[in-house]
Structure formats: C-alpha cells, structure tokens
Amino acid sequence: MNSFNYGFDNIHLIGIEGLKQNLITKLLERAVFFNSQKRNKKNQILKDCLVINLFFENSTRTKASFEIAAKSMSADILNISVSTSSIKKGETLIDTASTLNAMHPDFLILRHPNSGAAEMLSKHVQCSIINAGDGRHEHPTQALLDAAVIKEKKGKLEGLKIAICGDILNSRVARSNIHLLTAMGAIVNVIAPPTLIPVGIEKMGVNVFHDLNLGLKSIDIIMILRLQNERMIGSETPSKREYYDLFGINEENIKLANKDVFIMHPGPMNRGVEIDSLLADNNERSLISAQVEMGVSVRMACLEMLKLSRDKIFK
C-alpha cells in the first residue's frame, strides 16, 4: 500500500478544534479510500504495533470500531473496560495509564467521563493518545466519520446546511462536529430547548434554534443526538413525550428540510424520543449504517496518521 502524507506532526489526536482544513480533507480522503478496500484483506500498516482500548464508559460501537480498525491493519489489540466500580477502588487515571504505558503500547484509545482526560494523559505517557470521547468535550473520530459519510453522499461539505438536533449541552459529538463542519465551511444550525444549549455556543459559529420547524428549513443533513433520558427527564426536559412532541424527528417534519435530506445518529438511538422508529429504519433517508461502516475506515486513517507521526518523531 502506498504511503500517504498527512502533514501532521502531533502524535496524539485529542480533538478537532485547531485541526487545519487541509488535514481534515486528507483524513477524509484517506478514510474513503480505506472504506473502498475489502475488509477481509489485512494491510500491514500497524504490523508489530500494540493498541490498547481503555474505556472508562460503556461503549459498543466505538470500542468495536477501533478494535476492527486496528486488527485490519495487523496491530495487536488489548481491550480494557474499567467499570465505574473499579475506578472507585482508588487508582487514578494517571496511575492506570502509567501502568499500561509501561507495557509499551503504541496507541492508547481513551474514553473517559471527564472533559480533559485525554489531554491530561497525553502529558504523562509516551504512546499516542486517541480521544474516543472525554466528558462533554470532544469525540474527534465520530465527527470525522460523520463528515466522511456526508462527503461521500453529498460530494462536499462546504456550503451544506447541517442541523444538529438534541442535547448540545452535554454532547462531545456536537462539539467535535461543530468544530469540524464550521472549519470546512458548512452552515450549522443547532436545535434544542434552551436548557440543552450551552452558553456561548453561537460564538463557535453556529445558528441556534429552539423551534424545530424553523431550524430544519432547507437543511441538507440532520444529525440527531441521543437524549440521555435516564438522567434528563424532569431536569433539562420535562418528559420523553414532551421532548418527542417538540424535538422528535419524524417523516413529517423532515419534509421541512430539503427533499433529499439525510438523517444521521451517532447511536445508540432512543426510538420514539429523539427519532421516530419508522424514520430510523428508512434506508433511503438514514445514513446510520453508513456511519458505523465509515467509523472503522476513519479510525484506520487516524491510526495511520499518528503512526506516521510517531515514525517521524521517534525515528
């Protein structure tokens, strides 16, 4: 396989904020290339590399996606799930990571419930940190895979009108997507009740809507976020049915958007809360499976990019 020049000189991927437009373009291009390759044929890009998945929160798709990406590049991978109960046993994140670092992995994929966890670890270990979600801060590979899917479907990002609908306040996916889409010249609407819109979000270059009907007007892509309803009912929003009534996306209200609109969801979905069940299964509209598929390819591109940086720096 031909080597690819990303022009990136950091060994960690912590967030989208601050990444240059041409780097994002290259990552997306490479992801689409990996997506076109047959999965059953492994490449050798990460041969002899050790990847550790360190997840302090539950995850099915992200963890599996990184694992498949690493394996299809011939890396060895170790999965460590740290349940909340064992965090309470007292070992700090830095101690856990230092222990793993002493086993000389090349990559540590970290998911943690606290914002800033990935950045903090990157200062204490020699391996590359890939942020697989830190609190409400960023989830860079999710934003990259979303963008890669959009680019594949629409041929471009610049000038597209994209609505992000749901719990913007607590969402790292929303933040990473806002950084990426605005950097690439898309127009971004965020749609949510005022209690789920964080202060100052408009300074990140988005338009804020509290009325779904207004926010969906001439939209090309609707990104629906998961409502953490186990935590939010009775606090940020009064009830599931009220949320669905005001902000649930269904076959009816997507008619307000452009007629070739696509819908996306990072999963896991709450059918009947933020998204109507029928719409979720509408394969002409929904890009949800494409997102999962592209997830593996984007993570391959990210792993390759950081491997090349490591080779350059530690040569």
Partner: protein
C-alpha cells in the same frame, strides 16, 4: 532588652503622611520611636542592617486561609502554615473553621490558639463556625466562641445559605461586634460545576456555574443585613455583579465589606484551556471583564482588603481529571508579590496596596494595629520591591505545592518578617 533600630529606611503605612525615610526604634514587642532619619541617637540600641532600597511596612493581615490541621496534616500542618505565613510577610492570619473537627466549639479554638502560639511565629486568628458542624441549620455557640477569641463567623467554603440561619447569625453576632463572613454562592446552581459558565466552559466541555450566583446571594444577604443591622463581609469576591451588589449595600449605609484574592485580580478563565488542575478554584476563575472590574474596585476603594485564600491541597487530589480534582491554591507566599504586580502595572498605588494588605483587613477584624507609629505592636516586614523571582510550588514551605501561580515571574519579595519585635522570617 536591647532595642533594635531600623535606620534611614523608607516607611509606608496607611497614614496619610507616610512614605518617607525614617528611623524606627523597636523595644520589646512595641515600636517605641519613629523619627526623622539619623535623629535617634542617644539610646542603647542595635542597628538592624537592611538593603538600601528596602521598605518597611506593617505586617500583612490575611483574612482567609485554610488550616489542614487538625484533620489532614499530611496536606499541611499548623507549623508549615505559620512558616508559610511568615515567609509571605503575613504577621496575622485567620483560618477557616472547616478543619476536622470543625471549629464550632470553644475548646477547639483554645487548643488551636495555644498550639499556634507555641511556635512563636505569626499570630493565628480563627473564625468560628456559624453553624454546628457547618450544617447550615443549627447556630453554633457564637457567644462562647467569641469569648474564646474568634474574630468572625462563617461556614468556610460553603455559603451560609439557609436564610433563617443567616438572619439569626447576623442578629446574634452583633452582641459581640464580630463580622459574618460569607462565601457567596448558590449551591443548587454550583454543585458539580467546574468552571464559570461561558464560551470557554462550553468549548472545554466543563460544567459551568453562572457568574451571577455570587451577586444573587449577596443581594439576598443585604436585605437581611438591612433588617438585622449585622456586620457582613464577603470573602474572595470575584464578579462584576457581586461588586455592584456590594456597592449598593455600601451606598445604603449598611455595615458591609469585602475582600478579593490574587487569582481573581490576575487570572481569568482562559487559564483553564489546558485543564490544568492548579487553576481549579472556588469560586472558579471568571471572565476578563470580571477581572477588570475587580482591579478597578481595588483601586477605587470598593474592595476593602486582599486575602490570600490559601488552600493547600494534597498532590494526589490535583493529579486527577479537572472534574475530580479539588479546588484551591496556595496563596500566602505569593500574596505580596501578586498584589505588587498591580502596582507595577500602575493599576493601584503602592500605598493603596499596603492598605489593602494591612489596615484594610485590620479594620474589618476590629484589630488595632497596622501602623508604623510609636506605641503600636512591632509587627512589620521589610520588603524589596524590585527583587524578581519565579513562583515554584515545590519551594514553598507548605506541605503541599498547589500554586496557581506556578512558574509565574514575580516581582517584589519579603526580606524579613517581624512579629512583636522578633524576627520570624
């Protein structure tokens, strides 16, 4: 005992006519003479040498420090607290009652005071807990605490939030003419938050508390102060809105005062961008607009004092993620230099800086001191305004090293610290 003479030294205190070169003669624990340079001659004294450009000013009085002793002596102990104070030029410091056990009984006050005296260092003053166990429900024995020598009442890092308790404490404490010290916050709005709610907290994904919570509680309290006639002081004020509330209270003639602390004079919430837990403070760092309003209020007299807000935190608790780590920063050893940085930036005069550190806090606590005049206690410091140094937590005398000014260049240093005529640093 031989007297000590500080000859031909620049003396600054809050007296209108100060900031001139003088001779200062100390006999025992008292200043026995202050006169024109080289005019004190016919006495049995020992001349204390001092560098040419040094200044003699009253010892700093610090309205807010946290003693980890008793309770958490691996984080800091009484001796290291007092040594940090002396090194920082603080001759009297008040500690909060959030020790373990809580200082809600006179026996704990006696024990702490007695132990602190045994070190012959700075004077430890004590706030009594406003509520038993800081529970914000039942009023402590304010009278017995007052008799044992406490200088005010507070719930420490928690606000006195229960309005009935606040009303009672403001009323009852008047019998002893002691201030009620408030940490102005609304717990329902601030619990589990990590930063001030702003564009920065949004970008970082940190949970934010709106900055108006400070003013919300002050505004409520002022109505109770008006109702009761109590004496009310807001600690580490940090917002523009909070300051306007204080201004209104003062204009209405209420018995109200406030202090701020160096982080709120010098830093803003932009410092959080790398999630450095040294900047996790309570109240959290505010916007630049808030910081500028704090600086202005220091200059125009709305803020009465600067306190160190010294809060040692164990290294373990700062090695966690931002959300998990504890709030607080060391402050005693950087108090003078960080205040002088506003003088160097021409935000306040040197004389105003001296007031904010000495006579300002002194009058809030009804202490009679902070003057370099005949008959006053010989509590003073000699400082070099120009000496440059770099703040390093590891070099500080506390058992902890959590300074929010880590690696900051500092200008101005305490050369020596004198308490009751004895050199304690």
């Amino acid at each position: 005992m031989r007297k000590l003479l500080f000859q031909n030294i620049r003396v600054i205190d809050s007296n209108a006519s100060s900031d001139t070169f003088k001779d200062v003669l100390v006999g025992g624990a008292t200043i026995v003479g202050v006169d024109k340079p080289f005019s004190i001659t016919n006495s049995n004294f020992q001349i204390v040498e001092h560098p040419k450009n040094s200044i003699l000013m009253p010892g700093i009085i610090d309205l807010r420090t946290e003693s980890k002793d008793p309770g958490e002596t691996h984080t800091d102990n009484l001796e290291t607290l007092l040594r940090s104070a002396a090194k920082g030029g603080v001759t009297s410091l008040v500690c909060l009652p959030n020790t373990s056990p809580v200082i809600d009984e006179s026996s704990i006050v006696h024990s702490l005071a007695k132990r602190s005296e045994s070190f012959n260092l700075s004077k430890l003053l004590i706030y009594g807990a406003a509520s038993i166990g800081l529970d914000d429900e039942k009023m402590s024995e304010l009278g017995l605490l007052a008799k044992s020598g406490v200088v005010g009442f507070t719930n420490a890092h928690k606000p006195i939030y229960n309005p009935l308790l606040m009303k009672r404490v403001l009323s009852y404490s008047q019998m002893f003419n002691l201030p009620v010290i408030q940490h102005a916050d609304i717990p329902e709005l601030s619990s589990n938050t990590e930063a001030t709610e702003s564009e920065i907290s949004t970008r970082l994904g940190l949970r934010g508390v709106p900055s108006i919570t400070e003013a919300m509680l002050i505004e409520r309290d002022l109505r109770l102060v008006k109702l009761t006639g109590g004496k009310y002081h807001v600690s580490h004020i940090s917002t523009k809105e909070g300051l306007s509330a204080i201004e209104k209270g003062k204009n209405d003639g209420l018995n109200v005062s406030c202090d701020t602390s160096p982080p709120y004079m010098i830093l803003n919430d932009f410092s959080l961008i790398n999630y450095d837990t040294r900047f996790k403070l309570s109240p959290p760092l505010r916007s630049e607009e808030d910081r500028l309003s704090i600086v202005e209020a220091l200059s125009n007299g709305l803020i009465d004092a600067i306190s160190s807000d010294h809060s040692p935190q164990n290294r373990d608790t700062k090695l966690l993620t931002f959300a998990q780590s504890k709030s607080g920063s060391l402050g005693l050893e950087t108090l003078l230099s960080s205040t002088l940085s506003l003088v160097n930036a021409k935000n306040i005069s040197l004389k105003r800086a001296v007031e904010l550190l000495t006579s300002g806090p002194s009058s809030i606590l009804n202490l009679n001191g902070s003057k370099i005049s005949k008959g006053y206690s010989a509590d003073f410091i000699i400082i070099d305004l120009n000496k440059s140094w770099i703040a390093k937590g590891e070099e500080m005398l506390s058992l902890s090293s959590n300074s929010c000014f880590e690696k900051f260049p500092m200008q101005g240093k305490v050369l020596s610290c004198w308490k009751d005529g004895r050199k304690i640093y």
